[in-house]
Amino acid sequence: MKAAERSLLESPVLAPAPTPFSDTEIARVRSEFPILKERPHGKPLVFLDSAASSQKPIQVIDAMDDYYRRYHANIHRGVYHISELASEAYEEARAKIGRFIGARDAHECIFVRNATEGLNLVAYSWGRHHIQRGDVIVLTEMEHHSNLVPWQILAQEREAELRFVPVTPDGLLDLGGLDDILDSAKLFAFTAVSNTLGTVNPVKHLSARAHAAGAIAVVDGCQAVPRMPVDVADWNCDFMAFSAHKMLGPTGVGMLWGRKELLDAMPPFLSGGGMIKVVNLTSSTYASVPARFEAGTPAIAEAVGFSAAVDYLAALGMERIHQSESRLATIALRRLAEQSNITVYGPPMEQRTGVISLTVGDIHAHDLASILDSEGVCVRAGHHCNQPLMEKLGVPATARASFYVYNTVEEIEVFIAALDKAKRIFKIA
C-alpha cells in the first residue's frame, strides 16, 4: 500500500511503557500534514481545534486520490476488475477499522456518514423497535447534541421518560445516584469523553451498571476513538458511534459498531439499493448486516481514506498518542494556571484528556477566538453542541483548545501569547 510505504513511523513501539512522542517524531508527523504549512494572516497555523475536526496527513489524502485515479467504481455490483478492487478496498476498510476498535466481527461494523447518523440509526432502528410508552432512557448532562436530540425526539414520539446523570461542578459524572437513575431503564447513552471538558468517563463501569439494570449501553466514541486505545469488547458496550474526520480521516464517513445479536434483530433504517435481498412491488426482504444498514451507494473513497487514517494512527500507537496529548494538556493547564484572569473548566488532569475549555475575563469566547485567529491560533468558540452543559456551568460560551498528534509545546506558548494579546486589547490586566 502506498499509504503504508509513506509512513515513516512504522517501526514497532518496543518500549514497555509508552512514551510521548519525541520532538523528532512530532516534526516528522508535522511534515506529513500539508495544511500545517499554511500561514493564515501571515502567521504560522497553530491548529488547536482537532476536537471539532482533525487535519489530514498526506497518506490519507493520497489514498483517496489514488482510489479516484486508479480504481473507482460502484461496489458489490460489478464483476469487472476495478469494481472488484473497489469492493475489496471498501470491505478491507470495514474490517480494519473494526479491528482498530476491538470489534470481533466485521459484520458488526456499519459505515455511516458521521457519528450523528450512527446514533440516529440506533435511535430509529433499535429505539423505535424497543422503546414503548413509559420506558426510561438515561443520558448524561454532558452529552453532545448528537447524543441528546435523537433521544429527545424518540422519547417525545414514544412518550418515554428521559433521565440524566448529573455533572458535578468540576465536570465529572456524578455517579452517586446512578443505580436509582438506571432503575428499569432500557437504554443508557453516554459519551466516553466530553468534547467540551475533556472528561474521560469510566465506560466499562458505566456499561456494566447499564447491563445490571437491564439497559443497553450506547457509547458516543467521537472523542475517545481518536485519542486513546478503545476496545469495545473490553468496554462490553452494545453500540458505539464515531466519525472519521476527527481521527485524521475524511469528512463524509463514520462508523457505528453494534453487537451482532442486536443488529441482527433490528429492522432497516434507511432503505433502497444495496440493503435488500428480494424486492417485489409491494414488499421486500432485506440483506443481513451490515448491508441491511447501508442503503445506496456508500462513501467508498471515504472508507478508503478512513482506513488509511487508522493505519496512520495504529503506526503511531494509540497509547503513545494518548500519552503525548496528556503531556501537552498537562503543560497547557500548568501554563494557563500561571496566567491572570483565565478560568479553565473541567476536571483535574488525571480525569481528562487534551481538550481544554476556558474563558478570559469578560471577553466573550467569540471575540477571544477572533483575536487568537489574528495570531494564527485556531480554537473553537461557543457552546460546542453542549448547550445544557454550558447552562449548567453557567457560561454562555467558552473558547476550547484541543491538542492532537501534530501539536507542540511551542504552540502552547503561541497560544498563551495570543491570550495575552486578547487581554491587552480588552484592557484586562
Binding site: 494572516h41 447534541h145 469578560d362 471577553i363 466573550h364 469566547a365 467569540h366 471575540d367 477572533s370 483575536i371 489574528s374 468558540a381 461557543g382 457552546h383 453542541c385 448547550q387 454550558m390 454562555p396 460560551a397 494579546k421 486589547i425 480588552f426 484592557k427
Partner: protein, 143 residues
Amino acid sequence: MKDIAGMDELYRDFILDHYRNPRNAGTLEHPDASFEDVNPLCGDKIRMDVSVRDGAVADVRFRGRGCAISQASASLLTEDIKGKSLAEVERLNADDVVANLGINISPARLKCALLGLKVLKHALALEYQPTEEEKAYPDGQPS
C-alpha cells in the same frame, strides 16, 4: 474575501465601551413592539423593546448577552434609531451596521453584528433584507 480588520482596529475603545456599558440597556414597561432571538451559531441573544409614537421610534431598550461585536452593534443601533421614522428604520441594512462599527468584518462575525438589526426589524415587523453573504450562505450549521 473582504479585507478583515486588524484586531486593535476592530476592538477600538468605543466598541469596548459599548460592550461594557451598553446604551439603552434594559427593557421597556409597555413596549409597542418586542422580540428576542438567538444566533444559534454561538448562543448570542438579543431582545429589543420599542415604543413607537407618530410612526417613529420614541424609545428603545435592549437586553442581550454575547460577543462584543453583537452587543456593541446593538447598542450603537439603539442610539441610531431613536427618533427615526419606521420608514427610515426599514431602510437600515448591513452597510449601516458596518458603518456604525467603522470597519469591515468577516462573514462569520458579520452574523454577530447583524443580530440586533434583525431582532429590531422583526419586532417592528419590517422587512429584513439579507446581505449577499446571507443569501449565498444560508443558516448553515448553527452548532
